[in-house]
């Protein structure tokens, strides 16, 4: 619209700025959890995730090497080394030797520890302790430092939640369960709906308009109504709680949207192609398999993405029709809700679990976004 009637909007910078603000606002929560899933529990508990992106000023308690490491230089006994040995390096600004005065010395200064024992700590963490007499004791001198440490991230959370077989809260089993629920629950409704949509789009028969109206009506029926009647039904025919039940339920609940989307798409296919095929003697079944299905690929893809996202992200249907008291078949959403109850404060576990469950839908989303948008545009009742 910028160039309409030759006017350049004077608001352009305001537009850019407000879009930046909105995008940041929308991304901020997700990025927060994502970053948190790469931090240790201590890091998460001690500072906000936004602080982890920059070097942070932290008060640390470090320890010099034990007196057994001392060497004799002339008449002096010396312990030297680096305070950051074994942990990530930082830059020390101030330090002290007592918990009550942790910042009395600047980096590079020398402290008198009494008995002529002298300690010098440099900014990079290297220290040198000099004493005229032999030092004794089992443990090294404690040093309190104020240091800037660079950002530090770890994959341990993911290793722990995905690949540690001894972790009973691990997500690997739930991941497999979710996948097991999702794939049949996506594929089967597509097949059933494609045939029905073809009949509703291209076949003449009495009652067609009524059936289409019924499908549109069923689009909005809340699945909450179906929980108890269907659970009773599944128990009556001996399926009970399990994968078969949840597949059937997702198939039933996904069908109205599938039929609606596919029919709307198929109606728009050119009539000539279908009539030419009929004149050439093709049966409806052949027309459907050889012409309609390949041409409808975009619509099929749209619905497949919807149904995939919906079944992957679903909690209610899985809780009612699948997860039993043994918890063997728990899906990821249910596992996360349980973790929210039992591990409410352990953000490293929660964040990692949540991201494991979100990774696949987000990947699908970015890969197939085109079809998703197309499906949304076709699926909202005009």
């Amino acid at each position: 619209m910028d160039n309409i009637a030759g006017t350049k909007s004077s608001l352009t910078w305001a537009v850019h700025l407000s879009v930046v603000v909105l995008v940041v606002l929308w991304l901020f929560p997700t990025v927060g959890l994502f970053v948190s899933s790469f931090r240790t529990s201590d890091q998460i508990a001690s500072s906000g995730w936004w602080a982890s992106m920059f070097p942070t000023e932290q008060n640390l308690v470090l320890r010099a090497a034990a007196p057994s490491a001392q060497v004799q230089e002339g008449t002096d006994f010396v312990i030297s080394g680096n305070l950051f040995e074994g942990s990530t390096a930082g830059r020390i600004s101030r330090w002290g030797t007592s918990s009550r005065a942790i910042d009395v010395y600047k980096a590079g200064e020398t402290a008198d520890l009494g008995d002529d024992k002298m300690l010098t700590v440099e900014a990079d963490g290297s220290y040198r302790m000099v004493s005229p007499t032999e030092m004794t004791g089992g443990r090294g001198e404690r040093v309190f430092v104020t240091a800037k440490t660079p950002p530090e991230f770890t994959f341990d959370n993911y290793r722990n939640m995905l690949f540690d077989p001894s972790n009973r809260e691990g997500m690997s089993r739930a991941f497999i369960s979710t996948l097991t629920v999702t794939i049949p629950a996506t594929v089967i409704p597509i097949v059933i709906a494609a045939f029905a949509a073809y009949a509703l789009a291209w076949m003449e028969f009495p009652g067609r308009a009524l059936l289409i109206a019924a499908v549109v009506g069923l689009l909005v029926v809340p699945l909450q109504l179906a929980l108890i009647p269907l659970l009773k039904f599944h128990n009556a025919i001996g399926i009970g709680k399990g994968f078969l039940g949840v597949w059937l339920a997702h198939t039933g609940f996904g069908l109205p949207l599938a039929i609606y989307l596919l029919r709307n798409y198929m109606v728009g296919l050119p009539r000539d192609i279908i009539e030419n095929a009929k004149v050439d003697g093709a049966t409806d079944f052949q027309i459907f398999i050889k012409i309609i299905l390949p041409l409808s690929f975009p619509a099929l893809a749209s619905f497949a993405i919807f149904q995939f996202l919906w079944t992957w992200n679903d909690l209610l249907v899985a809780m009612v029709f699948l997860v039993d008291s043994t918890g063997e078949t728990t899906v990821m959403t249910k596992a996360i809700v349980e973790l929210l109850g039992t591990r409410g404060g352990n953000w490293e576990i929660l964040a990692t679990a949540a991201f494991i469950s979100m990774a696949v839908p987000i990947a699908v989303f970015f890969a197939m976004q085109r079809y998703l948008v197309r499906g949304l545009l076709a699926g909202s009742v005009k």
Binding site: V19, V23, W26, G48, A199, Q224, I336, V337, V381
Partner: protein, 403 residues
């Protein structure tokens, strides 16, 4: 068998079964039932006899066996028995008519056979979908209505109690809390999502990196409600006064001089913190639809307005918004439907405590925690009742469009 393997087998059986059903039923129809050729009277008579055996004899025997096994022991002359008797009668009548339709007496022309086959074929294509929709969506509506009017008696079975479940529900403060909250949700979430969606759609339309911005704002659509709950719980997280805040809300709140708050337990306002999660998810949806609608506006109308001296805000509110009003209504109603069914967010974040109950979670509570099917079904019917206006409106629109 491992569930994953079981899943693959199910895909194979499900897809193969569907394909096989469609192929075989069409094959049967075209080759044997109504072949595309003329039939003599004698041929037709033989076919009619055979057809009678297969269409009436075999199902008849099956039905008789079912009756002997299931219904006779439980008694036929009660409500259930009479219901199934009616169903059986209808089934037999339908099969009778089908036989007359397919296997008529006398000489049959090829044209008659073909046209008859084409009348039957759509129903073959539709049958699995009709069964699934009937069983998984239509039947539950009526069954839930029935359950809401009955109560379970110990030892199985149920008793008719009229409106007692609804009266009991109306006496519960938790129900009215859920209703009140749902009404606030119904106003706030669709309004804010549509507003933000419209704003983003309009703003990103004008800039070069607009599609990237749209994609990022659209992304929460892919995130589950449960995942979103975890994300936002971290945003709302509170720590004691003397520690660094790790939730951004409290970090900002403390930075401007407040005391850290447990946002999700603040009465009344916590509802809005839950709504923010759904608004965050739904804005992307609104944006995509409205953005397409904005692109569909004819340029001339906007150019004419600019030539007449309208400013950007006037163009937006007086020219563009009125033209996309129908789309705004569609977006609004779609989000309304999502709101009415919202369950996961409340379940995962507060579970209805601290005055945040909503209908769907109340219903789950009643059905699966209190095991009270009567009141649970009654609250499900309330959700259905709230959805009904949209259902009627959608159906009427769809019919109008087809004409």
């Amino acid at each position: 068998m491992h569930p994953a393997l079981q899943g693959l087998v199910t895909i194979a059986i499900g897809v193969g079964g569907c394909m096989g059903y469609f192929y075989l039923s069409n094959f049967l129809l075209d080759r044997f039932l109504l072949p595309a050729r003329a039939l003599t009277a004698a041929e037709a008579a033989t076919r009619r006899r055979l057809g009678t055996i297969f269409l009436l004899g075999v199902p008849g025997l099956l039905l008789a066996a079912l009756y002997l096994a299931f219904f006779l022991p439980r008694g036929i002359f009660n409500v259930t028995g009479l219901f199934w008797m009616a169903v059986t009668a209808l089934l037999i009548y339908g099969l009778w008519r089908l036989r007359d339709y397919v296997f008529a007496n006398g000489e049959l022309t090829a044209g008659r056979n073909i046209s008859h086959a084409n009348m039957i074929r759509p129903w073959l294509f539709l049958l699995p979908a009709i069964i699934a929709l009937g069983l998984y969506l239509t039947y539950p509506v009526f069954e839930t209505l029935r359950l809401s009017l009955t109560e379970r008696v110990p030892g199985g079975g149920s008793r008719w109690v009229g409106l007692a479940n609804y009266i009991q529900m109306a006496d519960e403060p938790k129900f009215w809390e859920a209703m009140r909250n749902n009404m606030v949700w119904l106003v706030v979430v669709p309004a804010m999502s549509t507003l933000f969606g419209l704003l983003v759609a309009q703003l990103t339309d004008r800039i070069a990196w607009g599609s990237i911005a749209k994609m990022l704002i659209f992304m929460p659509m892919a995130i589950s409600f449960v995942g979103a709950s975890v994300i936002w719980k971290l945003v709302y997280d509170a720590r004691p006064v003397d520690l660094d805040q790790i939730g951004i809300m409290n970090a900002i709140w403390v930075a401007v001089g407040g005391d850290p708050q447990q946002w999700l337990t603040l009465p009344f306002w916590n509802n809005f913190f839950l709504m923010a999660v759904l608004i965050w998810i739904q804005t992307g949806f609104a944006m995509v639809i409205l953005s397409a609608a904005l692109r569909g506006i004819p340029e001339e109308t906007i150019e004419a307005a600019i030539v007449d001296g309208a400013g950007p805000f006037q163009v937006f509110f007086k020219i563009m918004v009125p033209q996309i009003m129908p789309t705004i209504v569609v977006v609004w109603t779609t989000i309304t439907l999502v709101v009415l069914k919202v369950f996961d967010i409340v379940f995962a974040m507060t579970n209805g405590q601290w005055g945040t109950q909503v209908l769907a979670n109340y219903m789950y509570d009643k059905l699966f925690r209190a095991n009270d099917w009567g009141v649970g079904s009654a609250s499900a019917m309330v959700i259905m009742l709230l959805v009904t206006p949209i259902l009627v409106w959608n159906v009427r629109n769809a019919r109008k469009e087809m004409r």
